[in-house]
C-alpha cells in the first residue's frame, strides 16, 4: 500500500479550480517529484498531505496518508500528523526559522510535544541532528540565533528541524532554489543520504528539471492544476511525451550528460 495516495483532488477558490483532479501516489521510502511553473498548483497539492487548504477554498477528493483521509482530520489528529509523521522544508530558510528564537528552541519544541522528551533529552538529540546535517560545532550552534548562519546553513537547520521526529514523509518545497549551485549540491547530497539512512519518503517540489533529474525516482509534471505527464523521472525527462514537458525541457540550457 502507498504511504500517500491523493485521489481526484480538487481545490476550488472563488469559482476557479486551482487544483483540478490530481492523482498522486508516494510509496514508502520513495522520492517523488512535482514539477511545473509557478502557479501550476504543485505546492498547493503537496501541502494537502499536511491537511493545509487555503482559507476560503474547498477541497474535494481524498488525501490518504497511511490509511486515513487527511482532509477529514481535525484538531488533535492533525496536530499529531504535522511535524511528526509528515514534515515540510520551505524554499526560504530566512523566513522559515524564527529570527528571535535560538536554534535550540526551534529544534526541541516539537520533539518535546510529539515525543514527550525532557528538555535535556531533546537538546541532546538536537545536537545530534545538527551534526547529522553537518553544522560545525553543534554544541555552540544550538545556542545561536538564525542570523548567525549563511543561507545554506540555515537551510540545513530547517532540514534538521523537519527531521527531528523522523517523519515518514518529507515535503521539500523548492529547498535549493534560493541557494548557490555549490551549496545546492551539498543539500541535495544530504537529502539523498538521509533518505537512505532513514528510509523516508519525499515529495520533492521544484521547477528546476535538472535538479529533479538527479534527485527523484518518479515525477509528475503539473500545469494549471492538472497532471499532464508522469512516470520514471529519467525516462520522462530523456524522452518527454507531452508537448508541455518537452517545452520545459527544451527551455533549459543544454547540460545533458552523454555517456
Amino acid at each position: 500500500m502507498s504511504l500517500l495516495e491523493i485521489r481526484d483532488l480538487r481545490l476550488a477558490l472563488g469559482g476557479r479550480n486551482l487544483v483540478d483532479g490530481v492523482d498522486i501516489t508516494v510509496g514508502k521510502g520513495e522520492v517523488v517529484g512535482l514539477a511545473g511553473e509557478s502557479g501550476s498548483g504543485k505546492t498547493l497539492t503537496a501541502l494537502t498531505a499536511l491537511g493545509f487548504v487555503p482559507s476560503g477554498a474547498t477541497a474535494t477528493g481524498e488525501v490518504v496518508f497511511d490509511g486515513r483521509d487527511v482532509l477529514t482530520l481535525r484538531g488533535r489528529d492533525l496536530r499529531a500528523l504535522r511535524g511528526d509523521r509528515v514534515a515540510v522544508v520551505f524554499q526560504d530558510p530566512m523566513t522559515a526559522l524564527h529570527p528571535m528564537l535560538t536554534i535550540e528552541r526551534q529544534l526541541t519544541e516539537h520533539q518535546r510535544v510529539h515525543r514527550s522528551l525532557s528538555r535535556s533529552q531533546a537538546r541532546e538529540r538536537a545536537i545530534e541532528l545538527l551534526d547529522r546535517v553537518r553544522i560545525p560545532d553543534p554544541h555552540l550552534a544550538i545556542k545561536s540565533y538564525p542570523h548567525r548562519f549563511s543561507g545554506g546553513m540555515r537551510q540545513r537547520i530547517a532540514i534538521a528541524s523537519a527531521l527531528a521526529c523522523e517523519p515518514e514523509l518529507l515535503i521539500a518545497d523548492e529547498v535549493t532554489t534560493a541557494l548557490d549551485v555549490t551549496v545546492q549540491a551539498g543539500i541535495l547530497r544530504l537529502l539523498d543520504s538521509l533518505r537512505t539512512e532513514l528510509d523516508m519518503a519525499m515529495l520533492f517540489i521544484t521547477h528546476d528539471l535538472a535538479v529533479m533529474n538527479v534527485t527523484t525516482d518518479r515525477l509528475y509534471v503539473m500545469r494549471a492544476g492538472r497532471v499532464v505527464e508522469s512516470g520514471r523521472t529519467r525516462d520522462v525527462l530523456a524522452d518527454p511525451q507531452h508537448e508541455y514537458t518537452r517545452s520545459l525541457v527544451d527551455a533549459l540550457p543544454d547540460t545533458e550528460v552523454t555517456a
Binding site: E37, D180, D235, L252
Partner: protein, 290 residues
C-alpha cells in the same frame, strides 16, 4: 578602446571595529561593443559589488572604470552627467526595480532625451517582444518575465554603450530564464552594446556569453572564451563550479559537493592571470598546483 574597461578595481567595505572587507580585490576586465561577458561566482564573491561599482552605485577604493575611455563619476547627490547615462543597469528583481505606481510607458520615457518620446517607447517595447500598447499599463499587470523585459527596454532607452545585468533572470521561472536572457543578449549585441551579465548560474551563462570570467573571493581566477572555460576549465574552482551543476540525461550523477570554502591569502604573484591558451587566462596559482 572598448566601451567598458575596468582597471585594477578595488572595493572595500568598512565596518567600525572590524577589519575591512575587500569585496573586490583588484579586478581588470574589458567588454567590447556587441560582446557579452558572463561574470560568474557564488554569493559573497564580490560580483555584485563589482557590477555596482561599474555603474557608479559603489565608489571604488582604487582603480578605474572607463566607459568609452572616459572615467565614470560615482553617483552623487547631484544629477548624473548626461554622458554617464551611457552605462545602464538591469537588476535582479523586476518586482522592485519598477515603480508600481507609475505606468510602464512613463517610466521608460524618463530615460529618453529629446522629443518624440512616445513613438520611441512603443519601439522599445516592441523590441523586447511586448505590444506598444503595454505603455499605458502598470507593472503589476505583467508577469515576472514580462516585467524583466520592461526593465530591459528601460535600460535600452538612453541608448547606452554598456549594460550591467545583475542576475537578470534568476528570479524567473526556469522555463522563461533562457528566453529572457537570450532576448537581453540579442538586443544588446545587435545594438553594439557591451553587456556584462552577472550570474551564479554558469550553465545559463554558457548559452549566451561570448566570454566567461570566474570570480572567487574578490578576484578573477579564470577568464576565457565560453567554450574553453566550460570544456577545458584550468582553475580548480572553475572545475568545482562546473561539477556542482545538476545535469539532465539518463546517466546524470548526483552533483559533487565541494569542500568547505576558506578564505585564503593569495600573493599578488599567484593571483596574476597567465594566458594558458589564446584568450584563455587563469590565475598563476592554478598552474603551480596542477
Amino acid at each position: 578602446m572598448k566601451p567598458l574597461e575596468v582597471e585594477d578595481a578595488v572595493v572595500e567595505y568598512r565596518v567600525p571595529g572590524r577589519a575591512r572587507v575587500r569585496a573586490v580585490a583588484g579586478v581588470s576586465l574589458d567588454v567590447a561593443a556587441g560582446e557579452v561577458l558572463g561574470l560568474v561566482g557564488e554569493s559573497g564573491c564580490g560580483k555584485s559589488s563589482l557590477g555596482r561599482a561599474i555603474v557608479g552605485l559603489n565608489p571604488l577604493d582604487s582603480g578605474r572604470i572607463l566607459i568609452d575611455g572616459r572615467p565614470l563619476a560615482p553617483l552623487g547627490r547631484r544629477a548624473r552627467p548626461v554622458a554617464d547615462r551611457a552605462v545602464q543597469m538591469v537588476f535582479q528583481d523586476p518586482y522592485s526595480s519598477l515603480n508600481p505606481r507609475r505606468r510602464v510607458g512613463r517610466q521608460i520615457r524618463d530615460a529618453i532625451t529629446g522629443g518624440n518620446g512616445s513613438a520611441r517607447v512603443g519601439e522599445l517595447l516592441e523590441s523586447v517582444g511586448l505590444p506598444a500598447s503595454s505603455a499605458s499599463r502598470f507593472p503589476h499587470q505583467f508577469s515576472g518575465g514580462q516585467r524583466q523585459r520592461i526593465a530591459i527596454a528601460r535600460a535600452l532607452a538612453s541608448e547606452p554603450r554598456v549594460i550591467v545585468a545583475d542576475e537578470p533572470v534568476s528570479a524567473l521561472d526556469a522555463s522563461t530564464r533562457l528566453h529572457v536572457a537570450g532576448l537581453l543578449s540579442e538586443t544588446a549585441t545587435s545594438r553594439g552594446v557591451a553587456l556584462l551579465m552577472i550570474s551564479h548560474d554558469l550553465s545559463g551563462l554558457r548559452v549566451i556569453a561570448h566570454r566567461i570570467a570566474v570570480m572567487y573571493f574578490g578576484r578573477i581566477v579564470e577568464l576565457g572564451p565560453t567554450d574553453a572555460v566550460w570544456s577545458d576549465p584550468r582553475h580548480p574552482y572553475t572545475r568545482t563550479l562546473i561539477g556542482a551543476i545538476p545535469r539532465l540525461g539518463r546517466d546524470a550523477q548526483m552533483p559533487a559537493e565541494p569542500g568547505r570554502r576558506e578564505t585564503v591569502a593569495v600573493s599578488d604573484e599567484d593571483a596574476r592571470l597567465v594566458e594558458c591558451a589564446p584568450g584563455h587566462f587563469v590565475a598563476a596559482e592554478a598552474l603551480v598546483a596542477s
